[in-house]
Symmetry: C2
Subunit: 127 residues, 2 copies
């Protein structure tokens, strides 16, 4: 069965994409794909999203060099979420961390920084 027969895009034309490091299993980020971003990701092998804030196609790593190469895409039972396994170069997070989920809390709700910071965003994203 074709992936596109199962994926359900929402009323904004988007599907949730969870990105996981294929080697380590670390969850790196959550973003959104429209049909074009999903098609482009499959065609190019370069993971591509739809940026809701910038309202444009977003080839991950195009600015920073921290690209994501596609390994596989899984779809959930409802068809409204994707699990995108990737080879991540550098840090997935624009704040310089390997993962966007770099702050963690337990039952006491207090956040601790648990992620590894790999780069200084000021050096990577300067104009």
């Amino acid at each position: 069965m074709d992936l596109f027969d199962v994926v359900k895009f929402d009323s904004n034309g988007l599907v949730t994409a969870v990105v996981q490091d294929d080697a380590s299993g670390e969850v790196l980020m959550v973003a959104y794909m429209n049909r074009e971003a999903l098609e482009q990701t499959l065609k190019t092998g370069r993971v591509t999203f739809w940026s809701r804030s910038r309202r444009e196609m977003w080839v991950k790593g195009l600015t920073s060099g921290h690209t994501q190469t596609l390994k596989s895409i899984a779809v959930d039972c409802d068809g409204d979420a994707l699990l995108v396994r990737v080879d991540q170069v550098g840090g997935a997070c624009h704040e310089g961390y390997r993962t966007c989920f770099f702050r963690r809390a337990g039952a006491d709700r207090q956040l601790e920084i648990t992620g590894e910071r790999l780069f200084d965003p000021k050096q990577v994203y300067r104009k």
Copy 2:
């Protein structure tokens, strides 16, 4: 810093929750929490969502026995996604699989069932 100072609920009062098996690193499912579900999850240690389809609080595993015990919650850089690490009993997916992401495709888009089926939904959810 308190987790609730960072989490951003959307216009429907929801935040995306990615659930990951704490032991294996497997991504099990994506669901949604409102403030009450997140508070209840932290208070009880029993992972609880807001069901968008049923429009009610949803204590995972209450019907099936396939509960999720909270290990930790990480929040992403934007505050609009949570990574909930759990001890999963049985299968997370109502279709009987360990993970809801039981179908996977490569660049050819063709889906294969890669997940492990643990139970027959007809036996678990019968009335």
